[in-house]
Structures are given as structure tokens and as C-alpha cells.
């Protein structure tokens, strides 16, 4: 037998004061009594300190000495050599991915796995070490190597279910790295509790033994494996939805897919899917309000996480437009054709203050100083601070169209001016040529469509005379105007991507009108809150481990939502919950061959408690007997 802490034997010195105190004897308490008549008679019958009593004190001394001996021995932590030779280091990989939430194994695969993990921990021998790694999403060491059964059990029980994808392979790699740290003689093993089928080569190539225990059954599942939405590039109110449903079962199934926008049903699709079929479809819908899109699959199965999916549809704000022109029905109607536009027609002579964030459209008459903000100038007739107007250009032919610049600004998307008859345009000379980008030029080089972007000012210039040509009659004109509005408002086919679980994303805080007092918090779908750093430009969010809509809120503003991101399982592998092997093995993890599965010091302490009880009994006997 060896001692882990031989220095603790110094505690044996505690016997010396115990014996010393017995030798010295504690002075008895003196009590005055009025007479010894009765006490003498009493102790004439029974000797006050009989031989047995003295012996009893010796027994007590021996008990106390033994007590000190046992405690010192316990502190020295004795152990048998064979205990060190049979040490084991085990890494328990618990898969808490989304598919482990399937209820085909009651109550769920994860709970069954955790239950087996706990039973394994209970089967650990003293000095065996075990670490726990979670494999749902990014592999994480939830508990380092420890022999403390209670800590390990609590950690195993605390592993929470997630909607993350499985990362068992990476978790095994992590477990290997953990086991590689001390290259000692101890036996190493990785125990994987999962519902996935591991790559057999990967299992075999490892020097470390891997024990895979699977939980699950050949259970079919149908789930939404993709759900995205985005605003239409053409239609100001339109948006598109992409849905993909996968039948991960060996049988044909019928289901019904319902899509809601803010809890209002927008479409219901009956589905008939053959075994293993993947169905997808894009839907076009209209809505200015935006909100939460929800897809629900009406099909009862044992895996619910993929039966519902979420997407965030950005809201389309109204666009205030102030048209400064002599009455012009073409211009008026082309703006009114856009349902988002709030048009305000003003005659040039009555030009006054314009509302904030509005787009100002000048037709022919322009003020000498163009206002800041968004300005569209059509057919200018007088000079301003950005250009000087020259002579009319008769019958300008569209010669050069800067496709690269136009594409970057999306101003000429779906617009071709080559075939448009333009009887007249205006010669314009820019004050600062470098600031102006001409998108369309006439053959003679005269600018027909140009943009000028300066800090706080965006100007689009169309030099074509609308009254003389047929441009207003062409479909290109409203599209051009619509593109111009989108360019001004920077709203073009906004996409708030629905993220897959386990993903990490970034948000641009600068776009959320940050304030110095704001207190940003990330709110999970189940209400969990995570405080976010403020006073930074960008924040990384995630990994998102739960399906639903995650919100970034500002608590200082009464929990106002600043940004929303939808998160869906969107993982075909996770939706395929078929487990090739029936439930995991249930044989005991470790044969209980150790010294009662407890260290020797525990038994020594137990024995010392017993002796302490005996001494207490003897002490009480001295008083009560």
C-alpha cells in the first residue's frame, strides 16, 4: 500500500497532546455543597471512581488515539498499487444535437443518452477520470477530466437539448486531443452517445478505443429543410418565399404545408412526397408591412424541430416624394404607380421646405443650389451649383451605356434606352466632372443619365425632354423611376437570411442608430437573454442553438427590437433521424473491481466516525449511566 500524501502522517503528532491531557488530567470543577452527608452515604454504596470507571477512561483514551490515527491515515490518502495500474481515462461524447430530441426513444434520445451517461459515471472506479464533451453544434468540453462523481453527474444532467447540427466527428477529434495530453500508462477510451452513424474508417484508425452507443430507431421523418424569403427586385410590395421539404423516410407520406405572415395564413400547400423525395417551391406574395413568416408542416412525427420554420420579411417603408414641376400628368402618374410613394406635387414658384428623407424631383426648373438628400432632376433648363445647362441636343442617339456602374447601382436594371426615340436632350456641363458618373451618353458624348454622389446628397440627372419623346410611354420609364427610387432609398430586394442552427452571423450596429446609452441584449426564442457589447460597430451573434426568431433589443428603450434573425434547423442530415442500429448497448461501463468503488480514505473516515460515535456513547455513559 502506498500513500498519496505521506506528509499528512505528521498529524499523528495529535496523539501526543491527547495523551498529555490524559496524563495531566483536567482539573475537576469544584462545587460547594452544604453537606457531604448524602454524598458520602451514596458513594459508600458505590465507589465514586471505581476501577471500571478508570478503565473506561483508558478505553476512551485509546478510542481518541485511534481516532487521531485514522484521521491522519485518511489525510495521507493510502491506496493500493493495483489501483494506479488499472486507471482509466474516459471521454464521454454526448451528442445533444437536434436529432437527439426525437422522441422515438422515450422520453427522448438525449434523455436516454444522459441517463446512460449517469450510469456510466456511477460505474467509474475511484481514480478513474472522465471528461464530458458535447457534440451538438460546436464541440465543447463541458467538464474536464475529473474523478468527482457528483460533479460529473451534475454536468451530464445539465447538458441541455439544442437544435444544433451534429458535430460528433469534431467532438471525437476534440476527445482525442484531450486524451493525448498526458501520455501515461492509463487506459484511454472514448464513449460516444449519439444517434449518428460514424464513419467506420474514422472509428478504426484511432489508437484510442471508441465505444459508440446509439440511441434511436429506424424512424421516418418529414421536415422543412429550407425556408427563406426576400423582397422582390421589381415589385415594391412583392416578396418571394423559398420552401424545401424533405421526406426522410422509407414510405410515401402526405402532409400539408401552411405558411403564415404574422399569424395570417397566406398559403396552404398539400404535399404528397414519395420515399426520400425532396420537394421545393418558390412563392411570390405581396405585403408592405413585413413581419414573421412561419411555415408549419402538419404532420405528426417524433421529431418536431423541423416541422416549423421561420423567416423575417423586411418591412417596406413609404417613400415621400416631392415633385417640383409644372403640372405634368406623366410624371405624376409614374410616381403614383408605385404604391409606396407618397407624392406631393409643388409648383416651382411655391417651392418651400420639404419633409425630411423625402426625394425631391425637379422637372425643368431647378434652384440655383440643389437641396441636400435625394434629388432627381429631369430635363434641366437652368444652371445650378452642380452643372451648367447648354444648348438643346436634337435627336440624341443613345450611344454608350455604362453597364458596370449602372449594375452596381441597379439604376438600369431591366432598362434599355437604345431603342427609345429621344427627340431632344440638354447639353450639360458638370462643375466637377470627377464627382459625376455618366451612366448613359449620347453618341455625341452628351450625358443623358448621370449620377452625382456627395456626402449627404445623391443626385440623379436625366437630361431627356420628356414632353417631346416617347420615353414616358415606354415601360422602361416607370422601371427607371422605380430603380431610381430604390437607389435613393437603398431598398432593393432586401434579404434577411434565415440562418441554420449553429450558425454565427454579424450585425452592423451602425445601421441600428446606436446611442451611447443603449443596452443591447440578444433574446432567444425561448426568452433566454444574452447581454451584447455596445459601442462597437459590428457584433457577432451566435451560434444560434434554437429554432425560432432571435431578437436584438435595446433595454434602454423599453425593449424595442432593433434587429431580428430567423433560425431554422435547415439541415437534411439532422432531419433524417433514421438510426440504423437499435438502442445503444446497455452493458455496464466498468466492472466494479475497485475497493468498493470508494477510496480507502473514505472508509477510514467512516471508521473514524464510528469511533467518534463510540466515544460519544462512552462519554454519555459517564454522565448518564
Amino acid at each position: 500500500m502506498s500513500l498519496a500524501n505521506p506528509l499528512a502522517l505528521y498529524w499523528l503528532g495529535a496523539i501526543i497532546p491527547i495523551v498529555g491531557l490524559y496524563i495531566l488530567k483536567v482539573r475537576l470543577r469544584r462545587v460547594a455543597v452544604p453537606t457531604m452527608l448524602f454524598w458520602n452515604r451514596l458513594y459508600d454504596q458505590q465507589k465514586p471512581r471505581s476501577v471500571w470507571q478508570r478503565l473506561r477512561h483508558w478505553v476512551s483514551l485509546l478510542i481518541q488515539a485511534a481516532l487521531a490515527l485514522l484521521i491522519a491515515a485518511a489525510l495521507a490518502d493510502p491506496f493500493f498499487p493495483w489501483e494506479t495500474r488499472q486507471l482509466r481515462r474516459v471521454v464521454l461524447v454526448v451528442d445533444n444535437s437536434a436529432s437527439m430530441n426525437a422522441t422515438d426513444v422515450a422520453p427522448s434520445r438525449l434523455i436516454a443518452a444522459k441517463s446512460q451517461a449517469v450510469s456510466m459515471i456511477r460505474g467509474l472506479r475511484f481514480r478513474d477520470e472522465l471528461a464530458i464533451v458535447s457534440a451538438g453544434g460546436r464541440p465543447r468540453v463541458v467538464c474536464g477530466f475529473s474523478s468527482h462523481s457528483r460533479t460529473l453527474t451534475a454536468t451530464a444532467n445539465d447538458i441541455s437539448p439544442t437544435d444544433n447540427p451534429t458535430r460528433v466527428t469534431e467532438a471525437i477529434e476534440l476527445a482525442r486531443r484531450l486524451l493525448d495530453e498526458p501520455a501515461d500508462e492509463r487506459q484511454s477510451e472514448i464513449v460516444v452517445l449519439t444517434d449518428r452513424d460514424l464513419d467506420p474508417i474514422r472509428e478504426g484508425e484511432s489508437l484510442v478505443a471508441i465505444d459508440v452507443r446509439r440511441f434511436g430507431a429506424m424512424t421516418g421523418n418529414i421536415g422543412i429543410t429550407q425556408f427563406q424569403t426576400r423582397r422582390s427586385l421589381i415589385d415594391p410590395l412583392g416578396y418571394e418565399i423559398l420552401v424545401e421539404v424533405t421526406n426522410a423516410s422509407d414510405k410515401a407520406v402526405e402532409a400539408r404545408l401552411e405558411m403564415d405572415l404574422n399569424d395570417d395564413v397566406i398559403d396552404v400547400v398539400p404535399l404528397k412526397l414519395t420515399a426520400g423525395q425532396r420537394w421545393w417551391q418558390a412563392f411570390e406574395k405581396t405585403s408592405a408591412s413585413g413581419g414573421h413568416l412561419t411555415a408549419k408542416l402538419d404532420h405528426a412525427d417524433s421529431f418536431m424541430a423541423d416541422n416549423q420554420a421561420w423567416a423575417v420579411l423586411p418591412k417596406r417603408d413609404s417613400i415621400p416624394v416631392m415633385l417640383v414641376s409644372e403640372p405634368n400628368l406623366f410624371l405624376q402618374k409614374v410616381f403614383e404607380s408605385n404604391p409606396l410613394v407618397q407624392l406631393d406635387c409643388v409648383e416651382p414658384s411655391r417651392l418651400g421646405l420639404r419633409p425630411d428623407r423625402s426625394i425631391t424631383v425637379f422637372h425643368r426648373q431647378t434652384p440655383p443650389q440643389l437641396p441636400t438628400g435625394s434629388v432627381l432632376v429631369i430635363d434641366p433648363r437652368n444652371d445650378c451649383d452642380l452643372w451648367t445647362v447648354g444648348e438643346p441636343v436634337p435627336n440624341p442617339l443613345v450611344g454608350q451605356q455604362d453597364q458596370r456602374a449602372a449594375a452596381s447601382m441597379s439604376l438600369l436594371t431591366h432598362v434599355q434606352l437604345n431603342n427609345v426615340l429621344l427627340p431632344e436632350a440638354r447639353q450639360v456641363t458638370f462643375v466637377d466632372d470627377a464627382a459625376a458618373r455618366v451612366l448613359v451618353r449620347a453618341i455625341g458624348g452628351e450625358p443623358l443619365l448621370a449620377v452625382i454622389e456627395r456626402p449627404g446628397q445623391k443626385v440623379l440627372l436625366l437630361t431627356v425632354n420628356l414632353a417631346e419623346g416617347d420615353l414616358p410611354l415606354r415601360t422602361a420609364f416607370p422601371i427607371l423611376v422605380s430603380n431610381a427610387l430604390s437607389w435613393f432609398t437603398e431598398n432593393r430586394g432586401e434579404l434577411s437570411e434565415s440562418l441554420p442552427t449553429g450558425a454565427i452571423t454579424e450585425i452592423d450596429l451602425a445601421s441600428l442608430n446606436p446611442t451611447s446609452e443603449q443596452q443591447l441584449t440578444l433574446v432567444a426564442p425561448d426568452g433566454r437573454r444574452t447581454e451584447l457589447p455596445s459601442r462597437v460597430d459590428r457584433i457577432s451573434l451566435g451560434p444560434f442553438d434554437q429554432c425560432g426568431v432571435w431578437r436584438v433589443v435595446d433595454l434602454q428603450k423599453g425593449e424595442i427590437t432593433l434587429s431580428e434573425r430567423a433560425c431554422n434547423l435547415a439541415n437534411r442530415d439532422e432531419s433524417d433521424i433514421r438510426c440504423l442500429e437499435p438502442e445503444g448497448r446497455t452493458e455496464p461501463f466498468v466492472a466494479a473491481s475497485s475497493f468498493g468503488q470508494r477510496p480507502i480514505w473514505v472508509w477510514l473516515i467512516a471508521l473514524s466516525w464510528l469511533l467518534l460515535g463510540l466515544e460519544w456513547w462512552a462519554y454519555q455513559r459517564r454522565w448518564i449511566a
Binding site: 475537576l28 462545587v31 452544604p34 458513594y43 454504596q45 449511566a625
Partner: protein, 292 residues
Amino acid sequence: MPLFDSDFLTKLDYLSLVSKRLFRGSLLAQRRTKQMGGGIEFADHREYSHGDDFRHLDWNVFARHGQLLLKRFQEEADLHVYLLLDCSRSMGFGSPPKFDLARQVVAALAYIALADLDRIAVVAFANDIVADFPLTRGKDRILSLMKFLEALEPSCADTDLVRVITGFTQRPQQRGLAVVVSDLYDPRGYERGLDLLRYRNYEPHIVRLFDRQEAEPSLLGELELMDIESGVGQKVTITEEALKKYEKLFVEFGDNLSRYSRRYGLGCTQTLCDVPFEELILGMMRSAGVVA
């Protein structure tokens, strides 16, 4: 707080009145003694012997039965009340000390006796007579008696009743009532001392005082008990069982005293020292008529 205050005196007056009311009409003279003599109250007969006074022959009995019997009468005299107060150290034990109640009892008995025109004397004793308040008469002597009592301290050696009673009875004095106020913790026993009183024709009455701590001591464990009279210590281990035995011995001590008193027709009062003295006196008067 003084031992004898005005409230105490008021209570003494009350006790005196009560004693008179209780015994009114039951006494021919102020007090009766057990002395046979020339009184008027018939006591019993005895055989005639030579030299007896013919005047005391019961001629009626002689006429009827032809027997010469002498009539005996109880002698009427002033009662002498001797109050023997224990001043040993053990009397200082208790809370309140037994000695306080003992002095109050002595003062009360003395006052009642003085109020009834009896003579009283107080003898303070421990292992011997340590102080005397000489035989006196008259109610006005009560204040002197109180001063005497207040000056006493329970600081003397252990109790020796035989020696005390021997010294007491050898005094040339008239027999009378001898009230012993003590805890009776005499290592040699109290019986011999009381027997001596009886043999010398005194009428002993015992007032035994004890403290609750003496009756039910709260001692437990390994202790060194020290006798406060002798100063002798003893190392003992007191267990619950030993305590029960102690309490049994203590009760036996009181029972033996009661038995002894009954056997010889002595008045005996045993009481805890935490009772008010007036209750104790009234109880004594009701039960035995010792005071009267």
C-alpha cells in the same frame, strides 16, 4: 435589602393577632407547661406514696374503690421559649440563604411569644454555642433581638448538636419549649442532641430548612465536591443514576426526621427556604400549635 424591615414587623403583628385568635379560649393560663404542680387543671392520678400531701388525695375514688390515688394538676407557669438557631456554614447555602429564613422564623416566634407575655431566649450555635440572647420578656425587647439576629453570620464551623444541647441543658434555667431552627446537617446525627433535650424535660420542636438545590441538585459529571462546613473535598463522578439515589437519600432523611418526631411527640416542620416566613409560621401554628 434589610432582613427585618417595617414590613416584617407588620407581618409579625399580624401573626401575633392570628395566634391569639387561634388559641383563644383553649388556654387556662397564658400558657401551659408539662410541669405537674399546683395548678387547677386536673392532669391524671398516681399511686399514693409516703410523704404525699393528703390534700391531693382523691377521696371520691377512695370511697368507691378503697384505693389511695393522688390527683395531679398541671402547673401553670410562664412559658420559657428557647430558640436554638443554627449558625453553621451550611445555613448560608441556598438562594436565598437558609440562614435568612431561619432568622426570620426565630424573630417571628420570639415576637409571638413575647406578645403573649412569655419569656424567650435565643441561642446561636454551630459546633458549640456561639452567641446568646438572654432570657427576656416583654414585647419591647423584639428590636434588641432583631439587632442580635442581624449581627449573626453563618460562618462558624460544622454542626455538633450533642455538644450544643449538652451545654444548653446544663445551664441553670427553667425548662420550656426548645425550638431548634436548623438544617440538621450534623455529621454525628441529630437524634442524640434532640434526645438530650427530651431527657432534660424540654419540649423540643424542630424547624428544618433546606434549599431546593439540596433536595434536587443540578450537578452532573466529574466534579470535586467540597463540604462548605468542613472544607473537605471529594472527587466524584455524578451520573443521572447517582443523582436519583441522592434525591432518594435526601427524602429518606426528611422521612426519618418526621418519623422520629412522631415517635416522641415532637413538633416538626420541614420546609424549603424559598417560602415566605409568615406562611411557614402560620403553617406551624395550624399544624402543631407549637407557637401558642
